[in-house]
Amino acid sequence: MSRPPAPADAEAAARLIAFGMRPKQLPGRDVVYADLVRRYGEDSGFKQLTHAVAAGLGLMVLEVSMQAGAVLAATDESVFEIKMDSYARQSKIRERRDTEKVLHGLVHLATAALGYPRPDDLANDTYIGRVSVEQVDGVVREACRILDERAARAEANNDPLADAPELEQAWRAYARRPAAAATKDGRLAADTTRGMVARALRFLSEQGFLVPVSGEQGGTYRTTPRYQVQVRELAADAAFDELLALDVVSVGGDGDGGGSLRAATSETL
């Protein structure tokens, strides 16, 4: 582009991003939005301009499509970033704060894992997953059971060391936390795993990533294309990179042969 962008183009690009900030608004329901999405797909100059406007705001454009709309992500230190510290329960003791963070992170990870059980589901644009509070908690507890059995098979004493709580494995902290607890007024206690899952699912539905379907199983939701993009294009890789850095997984999967629902456990079948 030799000439500077026209003010009208800049406005249109900013408007597309503004639409992306309203996660529940979809191109299918708004003519102006749909036009902008179409223009983004056809006009590479407009696409670049949109990316530039987003970058200036501290945002990243993950995908713009008719199904998902404009899917944005916050860059580090952006005003749009959702801080885990404000999401997780505040605790003065550092270890306990870490535990809370890990548990909340695991709940979100399990929600995605249940929403897209196979790699294929994550890759398939038309796939719509279903999650419920009961199932998400069940998925993590099931994984805990697998790890417990694996630990039992190793036959070494693997009870956590009493004076090094930070070395305790994450699954033990999850398994120990009660699934449900009765409170005096009959509400679901927030620091139980089911309370955490319910909170995560409600939060994701406010973000336009899930849509409530029914109240069954503690609350049942279906996934949206937006969530799929978010998990596939950003979240899964971000977490995977961290795990690669820790050298606990390898690229190409640990012998899953591609497309298994439960790669690490398929040896049992």
Binding site: H104, T183, V249, L261, T268
Partner: protein, 493 residues
């Protein structure tokens, strides 16, 4: 003591863990005297606790169990028998207290942790934490919370630590038959109850397997493990059925023939228990028969997929499982980065003036369904509170040690100020404190003397402090019953 066997002693660790499971029960009796809402020393808390675990275990069904209120209600007759003259309200409160303590309400994890030592392969002594629960709360399909007893609790209760479920059941059964043939009904009842717990435990194992299958067919070995389990369970039920029918016939006869009303009653109880065992076995059997259908239905539902259309990550196998296996400290970065990336963006809210006004005028919203428990404040100890150094305190002590003759505050201040102006301030403060000395407190703490101050109306002439020029003297404190002050005080007055 612990080191000596050379290698790691698993039996020792096992016994220590078994011992740990009983600790919460002893703890109840240790703490009952401190309860402020009742004089609870008349209650045998450990007995009530065992009875509670009993009640929860008996109510445990294949799918659900009893809720808190039901269990508490069933405990009432037992508690009332211990203290008949107390009010029913107090009995209910004791039931609730024991129940809450067995769940360990108030802790985040609602469980217990005991530290035990073990010697590792290299002979090093290490402290390890053993986490266990006695009663757990689970949510039923309808959202109600109900109770289940854990394996630890059942093991503690029936005293069959570290034994195989099935062999324990056979042993109990043989014992039962023997006892009945010898006419020892009280023991027979105990054995029958034990057999029933075993049955419940057996059902639990199966329920866990079926639950896992419902979540993911591949997590359970349906090729060998489960068919073997089902076979074993069916054979087991068959033999139990025969045994129980025989026992039932035997004790029904003994019930009908018994002359002694007490013996008759106990035999009748036994008939009930064995009848319940038979009912439970029937239930277990129908579950076993349905197990295959569950597998097929789940396999259909969780059908296998074709090759992926584009490279994507297996979220469960490549992210969730490895993250769960990490130590807590290492799990923070992956968990946090996934959270950041998967929760999208938060748009800062900027209220417009008109919106803000209506926001402020809006009535307080109903509390959300999940507002959470009020977190306990975690207090950090205050930093350095000592304003005066030890040196200054010592000097002030010297100045205020006045056993013989009373002195005026003005003189003391002047002397203190010559050494250190801060000491003068400390002396003034202590003199002020001595104006209303806590003699009772000094006696309790076993102090020998206490500083007394008296105002005789002389005003204090001092550049820094104002008020009365107090007369100060140390008075000896008697340790007698009246803690009488001795003669010196009169002199001052």
């Amino acid at each position: 003591m612990l080191i000596g066997a050379g290698g790691p002693d698993e039996g020792l660790a096992r016994r220590l863990k078994a011992l740990a499971c009983t600790a919460p029960l002893h703890d109840l009796d240790a703490r009952k005297a401190k309860l402020d809402w009742a004089d609870a020393t008349v209650y045998q808390m450990a007995e009530i606790a065992l009875h509670t675990i009993d009640q929860v275990t008996i109510a445990m069904d294949f799918d659900t169990g009893a809720d808190h209120q039901q269990v508490a209600n069933r405990l009432l007759p037992f508690i009332a028998a211990q203290a008949p003259h107390r009010t029913p309200g107090e009995h209910a409160r004791v039931a609730r207290w024991v129940l809450d303590n067995l769940i360990n309400v108030g802790t985040t994890d609602r469980g217990f942790r005991r530290v035990y030592g073990s010697v590792d392969g290299e002979g090093r002594y290490q402290r390890r934490a053993f986490d266990f629960k006695l009663l757990v709360e689970l949510a039923a399909r309808d959202g109600e919370v109900y109770l289940r007893a854990t394996d630890e609790a059942i093991n503690v209760l029936v005293g069959a630590l570290d034994t195989d479920v099935e062999s324990a059941q056979i042993a109990a059964e043989v014992k039962l038959e023997n006892l009945i043939s010898r006419g020892r009904l009280a023991d027979a009842k105990l054995a029958a109850e034990q057999a029933r717990y075993r049955t419940v435990q057996y059902g639990e194992t199966l329920r866990a397997k079926l639950d896992a299958t419902r979540r993911d067919v591949r997590s359970v070995d349906w090729e060998r493990e489960v068919p073997e389990l089902l076979d074993a369970a069916l054979t087991h039920i068959e033999s139990r059925f025969r045994a129980e029918t025989a026992i039932l016939k035997n004790i029904t006869a003994s019930r009908d023939e018994a002359e002694d009303p007490d013996r008759k009653r106990r035999a009748a109880e036994l008939v009930d228990i064995v009848g319940d065992c038979v009912r439970r076995h029937t239930q277990l059997q129908s579950r076993l028969q349905a197990a295959g259908a569950v597998f097929r239905a789940e396999q259909d539902r969780q059908q296998f997929s074709g090759p992926p259309q584009r490279a994507a990550i297996d979220l469960f196998g490549q992210l969730l499982l490895p993250t769960l296996a990490l130590p807590l400290a290492d799990a923070v970065p992956p968990a946090q980065s996934f959270f950041h990336a998967a929760t999208g963006i938060g748009v800062p809210t900027v209220p417009s003036l008109s919106a803000l006004v209506s926001l402020l005028l809006r009535p307080a919203p109903e509390r959300e369904q999940l507002v959470g428990e009020v977190p306990d404040p975690e207090l950090t100890p205050a930093e350095e509170t000592d304003r005066y150094s030890d040196e200054q305190w010592r000097y002030a002590d010297e100045l205020l040690d006045l056993p013989e003759v009373p002195r005026r505050l003005s003189g003391l201040l002047a002397e203190a100020r010559r050494a250190d102006p801060a000491v003068a301030r400390l002396v003034a403060l202590r003199a002020l404190h001595a104006y209303g000395p806590e003699v009772g407190g000094a006696v309790r703490q076993g102090e020998r003397r206490v500083l007394l101050a008296l105002d005789d109306g002389t005003p204090l002439d001092d550049p820094e402090f104002g008020g009365a020029d107090l007369l100060l003297q140390s008075a000896a404190v008697g340790s007698g019953s009246d803690a009488t002050l001795q003669s010196e005080t009169e002199e001052v007055a």
